[in-house]
Amino acid sequence: MAAADSPSAALRRRDLCSRGIRLAGKMRSDVIDLLDTYVEQQGLDASASVAAVEGVPAAAAERWDEQTGPQRLLENLAAYRAFRALLAQMLEEQREQLGEADAAVGRALAAILLQVSAFAYHLEELLRLESRGVPSEEGAAPPPPPHLSLFERKLRGLGVLRELAQWAVRSARDLRQLAKPSPGSGAAPSPAESP
């Protein structure tokens, strides 16, 4: 926290939080758009319920408002690293499945992947500003993907995107919380501030 005391560090943190919030918002927006396209492309039902996907961190958190800043950042970082791996896998599967035939979904997936990466970078930077060590990715690497059928892969993709959308909302809230003058106070953001 020592680093956070300097004005430049505070400014940097505010900037990172601000842009992280907006990135989360854009990510959510893009994911929502992609979900519609993905469901249509994959021939899925938009209302289909997807059970919890293995390796996908849940956005829901108990006692969310009690979390500290670093704790929030670490959870977010872990989640987005996982999403990054999942989305990369989805992108690979997408290319294997459709080749270059449906470039729009592939481009959208690639864009979201970049956004996830960018958001993970934001989180890492914030952790550094918090003078917290950034955990290595090797430890947080998701388990190797199980052998799944095509339909199962489609459903898993749907689940990843839906959960990412949830995480985008939560991350925005987390960052708003961090951006407040007393980070880690645990005050829940007002609904009006939600993206």
Binding site: R19, S29, R107, L114, A118, Y121
Partner: protein, 922 residues
Amino acid sequence: MFSGWNWVAHGLYVILNICSLEVLGGLVQSCGHIIPESPVLALGSNFTALCILNESCLDFGNIYANQIIWKIKNRVVPKEQYREINRTVSSVTFNDTSSLASPLTCNILADGQIEQNIYGITVTVGLPPEKPRNLSCIVNQLSKLTNPMTCTWNPGRHTFLDTHFRLKYRWPQEDFPDCIPKDVNNSCTIADVQFFVNMEIWVEAANALGKAESDPLVLDPIEIVKPLSPHNLSVNSGILPTVLKLSWENRISAAVMKLKFNIRYRITGDTNWMQVPPEDTASPRTSFSVQGLRPYTEYVFSIRCMKEDGVGYWSDWSEEKTGVTTEDKPSKGPPIWRIIDASHSRASWTVHLMWKALEPFEANGVILQYEVTVRAKSSLSSPLEKYNVSTTNLTLKLPNGTYEVTVIAHNRAGASPPSVLLIPASNSKAPVKNVRTLPKDGKLWVGWTAPNSYVLKYVIEWCLMSNSSECITEWQNEPGNVQGTYLKGDIKPFKCYLITVYPLYADGQGSGQSVKAYLQQDRPSKGPTVQTKKVGKAEAVLTWNHLTVDEQNGFIRSYTIFYKTIDGNETAVTVDPSKTEYTLSSLTSDTLYTVRMMAYTDEGGRSGPDFTFTTQKFGKGEIEAIVVPVCLAFLLIVLLGVLFCFNKRDLIKKHIWPIVPDPSKSNIAQWSPQVPAKHNFSSKDQMYPEGSFTDVSVVEIEADDKKSFSEQDLKPFDLLKKEKSTSEGHSSGIGGSSCMSSPRQSVSDSDEGETTQNTSSTVQYSTVVLNGYRDQTPVQVFSRSESTQPLLDSEERSEDHTGGGDSTTQRQQYFKQKGGQDETSTDRACFERTKQITPANEGDLVGFAQLQISGQSSQPLGLGLEKSTQEAALSDVLQTSTEGQTVRPETVEENPPNPLSSDEMPKSYLPQTVRQGGYMPQ
């Protein structure tokens, strides 16, 4: 000769050796090579190349490094740049590579004569890349999810080498593939960028001589976004006639970028855009209500957006959409004016009411009709007359008087305020002053000085003055607080406008003040046609017609008359433009002049056709001045002559038309020489005493001398002869001889004769006073007769006889009687000699005029008459002689008569006769 062959043979040997070596070493083996091989060199640097000979060539070809020649293309490099490193290596050094060119060859001079290429390299000279500068990027949004970023930079100088540029960018934790420009070297587009992460961007330029990188640009691409403009713009009219509501869709997610907007709008047909205040649209939205618009007006709208905080770029303007506001009631009444035609009747007017259609911004809708109300101001009880018309004019016939006219325009939304026009009985109020015009900015400005009274408004009338069309009046209203305005209409240049300003008061109207004006002047389209009205000797009156208003093209400021003779200089005279006549003076008489005329406006002049005229030879009155005095002088002379003749009429009459007594009334009086006192000739005697008549000259001239007299000299005698001949018939021969003019009174029937003579006497006498000739004694003879019988005839007959006798003798006698008034000649010969003796009698004109001549030779016709008369007279004479009066013809002797004989008969009155030129007293 032999040594020469040896030299050639040696050369061939060397070449064969070289060739054989090459063949032995392989097809591409050469005797040496150059280091470095195909270098790329920086422009301006120094460069050293080495040519290394193979050892094998040394053995077989006897070639060494000192025989190497360096060449650039086909140009030998100066040997100063060579350096023989050893027997197989030669180097060449270039201090400046700019002098290098390809190929650089290493050659050998075999035996100092034959040059053989050993090796060659290609040298490439260029520059290392400069550091790219001015790197800038922009994210041009293509769609909601596609945000390509285009970066541009300045690549720097030309390197002459193949230089590659790469746009490199990365996140702190992630690198991205380079963006490689296609076909250009100064820009590259990254297909998609992610926002909200700082990106480091830089450009790398590289070629064979090195690489250079630009300064990195670190930015979040969201800060350089040029978003797509809002789309699906729609315009809807609201409840209010001054409001239109715009709606649109943004094409960038609000989660990505919050936007602010610019809204611009204009009236359809107008080119000037208006803009909604930016602060009103500085927040994200998808709709906006534009207020303050005109009712019933079509507007065009357009919108653009950019990042809310102003970082980035404005989008392009969206497509334009139009919308129309709803109607509102007209904001003002129509301007109204009138033309009063009072020509038909003195008791009533024909009033042409006219009003202008409201401008769209005043009408606020579609004008459905106009309501016109006319009320007479003179009588309050007069009814209000209303007219509903759809046109903009109304003609009414009204009795003379003051009226108040109101016009109200109606549209769907309501009625306008009324426009009121007072039509007074007379324009008796104060007019404006000093009406003036000024062309300004392609329009015509009219100014005036306001009257002292408060003016409600002004009406400006104007019309185009033309010969070809009638003056169509246009007009406009101006408020009462202005003193100038631009004419609102199609004012054409070079046309004359008559502009009239009327002040309108609350209770009347001032008379109009007019001025003529041009928006723009030009030279006249033609010049005046000049002609002469009157041409004199030294002046000419020129006349011309004014140019028509269509020809003037401006105000005619002056005329200039140019006139000249054929070979003279042109003279110019400036004439006032109001004149149509001018008199040229000081012209040369009887000279051809060419005259032309120019009319000038402010912009220049134009000349009319030439006209020629010739001045007169004589001036006015000159001929009269000559002729009249001459005539007057002539008349004066004639008058004087007449007066003179009148005064001397008696004398003239006596000598030219003597009173000839009527022979038919004559009788022979009894008279006797013894009683001469009875005869009343005392006056004559007193006037001419006997002693005074002494000279009778007898001139004897040879007949041939007659020729010496000119005809001129004889003319007077001819005239007298004629008179004699004509009067001879009446003559009774006063007392005898025709050469004798008698001062005696004679009996005559003539009244005149009676008044001048004593007619009571029947006794005629004559006195002949003769002078001597040539000192000869003159012979005085008095003859007397009481009768008025034509003794003359007897005398003349005797003269005839005498003449006949003289003709044979070729002698002539001339008698000149110097008796004051009387001259007598007794012979025709004397007539012919008259001229000769005239000088002797010049002072006695009367006597000369009284000559009575019996013509003969010069008057053949008269001669005949004379002869017959003379014959008759002769018989009469013979008769009288028988009665006691003896007339005896005798021949006058040449010898002068005896003076004594004349003395002997001084007082005797005897008939006398002249014979053969002589004069014989009887």
